[in-house]
Symmetry: C2
Subunit: 393 residues, 2 copies
């Protein structure tokens, strides 16, 4: 007969969920109120304003989907696409593949622009695809590929999309709150993210935002959105600005307390400061990794500060190292996926976890475990290299 | 600039969310761990076993969908239906109408069996529909209609469905943990519920269960499930019993701590005791309501103990009464929906909120507000009538 569950206290440095700010954990346990309570309506309005700040947008249709990032992705595709539509989808990792799945399940046709795992989306290939497919409705790409640690140039990709008159759809699951992202200035039409990455909230919510152009597309559909739960025509009436909100589904009240608190933290620190902190912690971590003789596999120009793809040294079993880090140090780092399985570790420095403490814990633990497993390296060099960055910062 | 949100402390006696057990609120704030952590896998296994207990089923495919009850409903329909299928849908309130929406969005045809709001699903009409539609694939109905407070005879409806060889689909959003429900013994093929009703957990999760017959239907589909996020073929590999779990989406870790704790509470008390408590609190509440000269609009034979539809006395503005209860007593009760809007209040006695404390608070507050608004009644009679039931219990 199962009894209460008491989780171990881990340091979360995988691809997400990332370490959750204790302020957010505390917020989760505040008393539940009703989803039509006037105080809850006020909370919704604040969350909307805070998300507009985080996305740098004035989009009216900006809200958290009541489900994880995968549902946010699906919300974007099922609302914007209809049967017979064509969508250009860039794939340079796992999540571009998931976009393709979504396009197909909408009865639309994906035109794939493929890049190698670990590299950024190639602008020339995208332009070629846009040229060859004048009937495409959408260009979709992943801003920060969680599976590889690669940043693509969302600003230039969005500009290309607009040049060719398509809707620009961006996966910002791992980018929001970690690297510069400007929905309005870059002209992004639809974007989705996740709560459990650089926002440092718990998993389970997916912030989304749609431009007025995207809303127009949704409003003028000829067929109903295939998902009732994700139909923005209905959700707009619940999250919309009007005084009379019509009930759609029961919002996940307490997780929204957490998201609100996470966004308050983000705003208190300020976006430029948050981006700067991620960049700095990444620099210290990278210095440590290199001092250990390991390599970050992504080209420096397209490296994500918040997700570091560290090459597994020749002859080492990456799973044994991860399991040891978890059992001996309560430290979680991530494995590679797809073509990078077995070849990389994915080390997240996201949100609250983009901290000096986490960098030092990870470098210290990784060094110790690798030495234990027989890697010959200069003991203490990693932490020293990171500390030099901190002293210079 | 928004700051931390501190909700008022309400007594939640609407149609849900219901009062959350403090044990569950505390569980939510425990440290987040990764969704592939061995300890999290253990938690998933326990949640599955606890849900099997709650649903009274041995179904292997029993798990919480990572989104609210509306998504659980959608999960059942999109997995079981394909384009061109026919489904018999019973509608005796708001949620049968939502089922119809789901059937249509799957490209399937709903055959509606309509009953008046406030009455139970009529067995004869259902049998007639089954007879007239030998090509129907499914019979779907709501066990406990949250919009009206009506219980339908799920056992006999399920038996009818089996007699005619269709899949039996049950909406148990408000019934699970409130009234007797036996998935295996009654032969239910697919069922969904919500976390925020009689389980007294926060909103945002939807327990579902599929019989092996339903799983067979899902596995042998000729088309892909239109929702990637809700595709049980993929979710089975994540929640399944195998040692190697394949990543699908990031599970909402902390809300699952809450659901686990809620289910542990349910098991500690025991299902028969839980059902008995709901019946008893309803009896006390009903006695109080009648002593006040008010009426429960649902026939005693199909009344839900956990959701009481109280007729608004002639000449009273129901919204003013609700607003006064909220502002002066921090007490939330629900309004009527659809054809019952303005005519009823919906008073929930669900899960942790099915308590003597809540019954007395609600009767006392309602009496006082109604007297204030000019209703002539015997002061104190309501609480006295309820206490008589408690003394006799």
């Amino acid at each position: 007969m199962p009894s209460s569950f008491h989780p171990p206290v881990r340091t979360l440095m995988g691809p997400g969920p990332s370490d959750v700010n204790p302020r957010i954990l505390e917020a989760l346990s505040r008393p539940t109120i009703g989803h039509l309570d006037p105080e809850f309506i006020r909370l919704m309005d604040e969350i909307k304003a805070l998300l507009q700040y985080a996305f740098k947008t004035n989009n009216e249709l900006t809200l958290p989907v009541s489900a994880p990032g995968s549902a946010g992705m699906e919300a974007v595709f099922v609302n914007l696409l209809e049967r017979g539509d064509k969508a250009i989808v860039c794939q340079n990792g796992a999540f571009g593949g998931r976009m393709k799945e979504n396009v197909e399940r909408c009865g639309a046709t994906p035109v794939m622009v493929m890049d190698e795992w670990g590299t950024a989306v190639d602008l020339d290939k995208v332009e070629q695809a846009l040229k060859s497919n004048p009937d495409a409705k959408m260009l979709a790409f992943v801003h920060a590929e969680t599976s590889t640690g690669v940043l693509s140039d969302a600003q230039r990709l969005a500009a290309l999309g607009h040049q060719y008159g398509v809707l620009v759809v961006v996966d910002a699951v791992t980018s929001l709150g970690g690297v510069p992202l400007e929905v309005d200035a870059w002209g992004i039409d639809a974007i989705y993210s996740g709560s459990q990455k650089c926002l440092s909230c718990i998993p389970g919510l997916s912030p989304v935002s749609f431009s007025s152009r995207a809303v127009e597309v949704i409003r003028s559909r000829t067929s109903k959105v295939q998902s009732w739960f994700l139909d923005m025509n209905l959700i707009m009436d619940y999250w919309g600005g009007s005084t009379r909100r019509s009930y759609h589904h029961t919002a996940p009240i307490n997780p929204l307390y957490g998201l609100h608190e996470a966004l308050v933290c983000l705003q208190e620190e300020g976006l430029p400061q948050v981006w700067q902190r991620h960049a700095m912690q990444h620099k210290a971590f990278a210095a440590g990794i290199e001092a250990m003789g390991l390599k970050l596999i992504v080209d420096p120009l397209s490296r994500l500060p918040q997700l570091n793809a560290v090459g597994v040294p020749e002859g080492f079993d990456e799973a044994v190292v991860r399991a040891t880090l978890l059992s001996q140090y309560d430290l979680e780092i991530g494995a590679g996926l797809g073509s990078l399985a077995g070849k990389i570790w994915r080390v997240g420095l996201m949100g609250y976890g983009a901290s000096q403490k986490n960098v030092l814990v990870c470098l210290g633990a990784l060094e110790s475990v690798l030495v234990e497993q027989g890697l010959s390296l200069d003991r203490g060099a990693a932490v020293q290299a990171a500390n030099e960055i901190y002293r210079g910062a």
